[in-house]
């Protein structure tokens, strides 16, 4: 399990800037505190981005950041599958720097969910799967007004995702 599914990369300064969460005051019960979530499709388009308590923002535009993110994930994915001695079932799941943890979930249809959290988060694959199956599929795929593969505009989706994340027991009450 450890060696096959979890990849830990050494932190690099560049990565740290993406999401710096140096304080852990909001963390309860040693669980994860989601900082941001994004949904990408196979061609690298970012369908949706949202953040809850991200502390640092880059000087670059969101578009630039998405491109960097997609490039990085693309490289890690191919790196991980190349060095693995086995056929990967789930592929790469997450990595940690000294400041944050990035979680990755990809469906066989190529939809990629990326969530950044603080370092205390365990495996949140379940959370990402729930977002996919109960929120994305339910409110985007089944919504005739939502074209697939283009940025998400549905208010209903935004509300449901936000409610779901805020409803997780790990989400601190303090946050507005």
């Amino acid at each position: 399990m450890e060696s096959e599914d979890e990849e830990e990369l050494v932190s690099s300064d560049d990565n740290e800037k993406l999401c710096d969460r140096s304080d852990t005051a909001y963390v309860t019960n040693h669980l994860a505190l989601p900082a941001s979530c994004r949904i990408l499709v196979r061609n690298g388009t970012c369908l949706y981005y949202t953040e809850w308590n991200r502390k640092t923002h880059l000087s670059m535009s969101k578009d630039e950041e998405f491109k960097l993110m997609y490039g990085m994930i693309f490289s890690i994915k191919s790196f991980v599958s190349r060095i693995s001695p086995y056929d990967l079932k789930d592929g790469f799941l997450n990595f940690k720097t000294s400041k944050y943890k990035l979680h990755f979930y990809e469906t066989p249809s190529g939809l990629k969910l990326v969530m950044n959290t603080d370092l205390t988060a365990g495996n949140i694959r379940d959370v990402l799967h729930q977002i996919y199956s109960n929120i994305y599929v339910e409110y985007i795929v089944k919504n005739p007004m939502c074209e697939l593969g283009v940025p998400i505009k549905s208010e209903l989706f935004k509300t449901k995702l936000d409610d779901y994340i805020r409803g997780l027991s790990v989400f601190p009450m303090k946050l507005s």
């Binding site: 339910e138 089944k142 005739p144 549905s154 209903l156």
Partner: protein
């Protein structure tokens, strides 16, 4: 007979039918599209009700027929019952569905409000078709003020 087991397929098919009917019409033919969808729904409602009532006895009165639409018919098509049924006792019935299946995924309020009529024409036709087959002639319209709630108004046509 083989049994199809999933409601989601019907929902996707309905979305495609709405899309198809609107694809082959231009902007000023909107009313025409609604009418076309309504008549497709009519045909489906008509044949569907036959599947139900094969062995059953006739309904005792109009209200009894309406209750059938609100309960059994609605449950089979949308997997839930109508939340509220009202009548003025003069041939007008209002069926309220607080979470209408075809709207629950579209919006929780006013977003995309302009498209709601497209997705209600077929269901209106289905009600009219079902009633017609049970010997009740009617005109059925739908009204939405905030999705996913929807009111279907049935006006009985007596001749």
């Amino acid at each position: 007979m083989a049994q199809l087991s999933d409601a989601v397929l019907f929902e996707y098919l309905h979305i495609e039918i709405v899309g198809y009917i609107h694809r082959c019409a231009d902007e000023n033919e909107k009313d025409h599209c609604i009418a076309k969808l309504e008549s497709l729904g009519f045909r489906v409602g008509q044949s569907l009700v036959e599947r139900f009532t094969r062995e059953s006895t006739r309904f005792k009165d109009e209200l009894d027929t309406m209750k059938f639409i609100c309960k059994d018919f609605w449950n089979s098509v949308y997997r839930k019952q109508i939340d509220n049924l009202r009548t003025n006792h003069q041939g007008v019935y209002v069926l309220q569905d607080n979470k209408f299946r075809f709207l629950t995924q579209i919006s929780n309020g006013k977003q995309y409000m302009d498209v709601a009529p497209k997705f209600l024409a077929f269901p209106c036709g289905m009600i009219r078709g079902a009633l017609a087959n049970l010997g009740v002639n009617s005109v059925v319209t739908a009204e939405v003020s905030a999705m996913p709630a929807c009111k279907f108004q049935i006006q009985i046509q007596r001749t």
